[in-house]
Amino acid sequence: MLDQYFGDYITVFVFMAVGALLVGGGLFASSLLRPDKPSKTKSEVYECGIDPVGGGWSQTHIRYYIFALLFLIFDVEAIFIFPWAIKVEDFALADMGGFILVEMVIFIAILVVGLVYAIRKGVLRWE
């Protein structure tokens, strides 16, 4: 049981490490081949070929920050749907299909009301 548990994690981490190794190895191989002649002009950021104006982290109006809030709500609720999705079959076999369906329809209806509210509030309208 514990072997299974650690085996899962080790496999995932080894695969991630290989992903990192791919980049590291590639960069090392590349460092043997590529030229390295730094200059002040080269290390400037690109901006249509002219000298950059102002700093790189200029302030912009991010119109989509509100989506992050919406996303948070929906994503958290989507997680709750997963366990339900897997148990539908068991409940249907135990003659409780109607019960589990009504439960989820109520849950999703609340979600939809939230979405409709956000849309009617004009979250998606850009002026």
Binding site: G7, G26, V123
Partner: protein, 338 residues
């Protein structure tokens, strides 16, 4: 067999599928797009058909100077490509290439896929933020907004399949599709059709659309949008670091197409073939389906114009998410009634 030795073999096999797969798709993209526009495409590299073009490109990128802008946030800038490729490779852990040919059949399965696939988003956001470039910053923010918006349709589309199969493990989902029986009144050849392709057709369309957006490919390539943002979050990257993002994108395409094929098209499963044979034939079947889906991705790319940022958000929130929710309710209803 020894756990570590087995793990090493698995890693080797996955790399052996991922890297050639990505190269084939890159080459396919060059060639197919050329023919769609009445051009010839790559012609010289490697002799016939210019098949070695992606390799030649990679070699060229390796010889390019590695530039880091002086203003950039050094550490984050250098870490970003690592994060992208780590996320992409972690996706391959749960992909089943055959009944037993799977690196690790996690119980969480598809849930894990959804979680890990957003790791690449983090890399993209890091790249955009750390470059100290206005194009990169806007590109990175666009990427974040887009990936947030399309993560939800992706999740909702997957839930439909989870209801049908009653499991999150990708292997169980394929088995459920293999064991599916249509009504007795229909002729037996109907069983050849992957059942979820029909029953979850809505989910399939949502999933493919959302995965296009997750991969930020045209028509959802606003984070890169050459004509307005130069190269978006990639503007400051040069040489091999750029190549790694590029590789990550195409390897991500292999992974997402494989997930879509597994969920909706039956994965490695082939009708009327026993499990023992499937262990060897399975990878070929899966990769054929992957290449079919990749072709559709390429086809869409060279057909549609880029969307506007607010149109993109409208499609996700007004169409795909409600459709996904409706699909869940209908699938649940279907499951309970039948």
């Amino acid at each position: 067999m020894n756990f570590w030795l087995l793990l090493l073999i698995k890693v080797g096999l996955v790399l052996g599928v991922m890297l050639p797969g990505a190269l084939v798709i890159i080459f396919g993209e060059l060639k197919i797009s050329a023919h769609m526009q009445s051009r010839i495409g790559p012609y010289f590299a490697g002799g016939r058909f210019g098949w070695a073009q992606p390799l030649a490109d990679g070699l060229k990128f390796m010889q390019k100077e590695d530039l880091v802008p002086a203003d950039a946030d050094d550490r984050v800038y250098k870490l970003a490509p690592y994060v992208v490729l780590m996320g992409t490779l972690a996706l391959f852990v749960v992909l089943p290439f055959g009944p037993e040919t799977v690196a690790r059949d996690l119980d969480l399965g598809i849930f894990y896929v959804l979680a890990v696939s957003s790791l690449s988003t983090l890399g993209v956001l890091m790249a955009g933020w750390s470059s100290a470039n206005k194009y990169s910053l806007i590109g990175g923010l666009r990427a974040a907004a887009q990936l947030i918006a399309y993560e939800l349709p992706l999740v909702l589309a997957v839930i439909g399949v989870a209801i049908m199969a009653g499991s999150l493990s990708l292997n169980d989902i394929v088995t459920a599709q293999a064991n599916w029986q249509w009504f007795d009144t229909l002729p037996t050849w109907v069983n050849i059709i992957p059942p979820y392709m029909i029953l979850q057709a809505v989910g399939l369309v949502i999933f493919l659309t959302a995965s296009l957006a997750e991969l930020s490919r045209i028509p959802f390539d606003m984070p890169i949008a050459e004509s307005e943002l130069t190269m978006g979050y990639l503007t400051e990257y040069s040489g091999l670091r750029f190549t790694m993002f590029f590789l990550g994108e195409y390897a991500g395409m292999v992974a997402m197409a494989a997930v879509a094929a597994t969920l909706f098209l039956g994965g490695y499963w082939l009708p009327f073939v026993s499990d023992d044979v499937l262990n060897f034939v399975g990878p070929v079947v899966l990769l054929t389906k992957v290449m079919l889906i990749a072709f559709v991705f390429i086809w869409l790319r060279w057909t549609f114009p880029r969307l506007r940022e607010d149109q993109l958000q409208t499609i996700a929130w007004k169409w795909l998410i409600p459709a996904g929710l409706a699909n869940i309710v209908l699938t649940g209803f279907f499951k309970v009634v039948f």
